[in-house]
Amino acid sequence: MPMRRSPEVHPKPADALVALAVLLLAAALTLTVWGGNKSGGLIATISVNGQVAKTVDLSRLSGPEVQEFTANGFTLHVRLSSDGAEVIDSTCPNQVCVHTGHISRAGQSIVCLPARISVTLSGGTANGVDAVLG
């Protein structure tokens, strides 16, 4: 059976263009998803099965609170505080939501696909700048 086309098996200069295109796409997405630093408090939106289940204005929380969400047979405990959100435990099999850890910036999300629950932060960042130098 003849080979239809034999590929080039050593890297060529044009391969860098593909890598560059992938990086550019990643950069453009980062700007789109993480952009939009409006002033104001951070808002956490918890969606279950694609429907918004709860919206919490994090800047109005008096202290950290843990909320429970159950969907599709799995239960997640989400800890909400003025500086962000995290899933502290979940009964889902892959634990990706727990491993995502703490999120604190507008545009960031925690996704639990088995439970079809997502936590998304929007609005301004609680601390508008990453660092102040000088």
């Binding site: 391969d15 997405l29 960031q108 696909l113």
Partner: protein, 178 residues
């Protein structure tokens, strides 16, 4: 050899090779579970994509038609074995996006197997994030895509390297000769 016409008639040898490659892709997907890249990079959907080696190989050696057949068989059987039909959408969208991009990129003589493979890995991630957006009903998974694309540069180069070794080894055999 039959002509590669619009109707796809496979010879017994071609059908057998497709079946062997499908089995190989399924085995590679299974073996991949024992190399949990997601422990090092805690992102949903992060994996080496070893089954992509089969798609790259089939694309060059057998053409788009048979590569497509292998992909569909692999995704369907993989979802059946895992007992999770929800996974079918993920593997189909990822796999089809990867194959479309790689079929396009492999037409260019300027690109090596590395560029083609990296493009395929990136497209695979885009397809999977699209499936996650469809499953979840909102665009939250988009947040992971830039990081997944970064990882795909490495996983794509790795599968390209592995497929390259395969092609170099086959040059010393009579398997792929006329």
């Amino acid at each position: 050899m039959p002509c590669w016409g619009e109707t796809m008639k496979l010879t017994t040898k071609q059908l057998t090779l497709c079946a062997v490659l499908t089995a190989l892709a399924l085995a590679l997907s299974y073996v991949e579970n024992f190399l949990p890249l997601s422990l090092a990079v805690p992102l949903p959907g992060v994996k080496l994509g070893l089954a992509n080696i089969v798609t790259v190989f089939a694309l060059y050696a057998l053409g788009v038609g048979q590569a497509f057949l292998i992909l569909i068989a692999r995704c369907t059987l993989g979802a059946l074995f895992a007992g999770n039909l929800n996974a079918l959408l993920f593997s189909l969208l990822g796999g089809l996006a990867a194959m479309a991009i790689m079929a396009l990129l492999s037409r260019s003589r300027r690109l090596s197997i590395y560029g083609v493979s990296v493009g395929g890995a990136a497209a695979h991630n885009c397809g999977q994030v699209a499936a996650a957006i469809l499953t979840l009903g909102n665009t939250a998974p988009l947040y992971y895509l830039p990081l997944l694309l970064g990882v795909s540069l490495f996983t794509g180069a790795l599968t390209g390297f592995a497929a390259g070794i395969l092609f170099r080894a086959l040059e010393h055999t009579s398997l792929m000769k006329a």
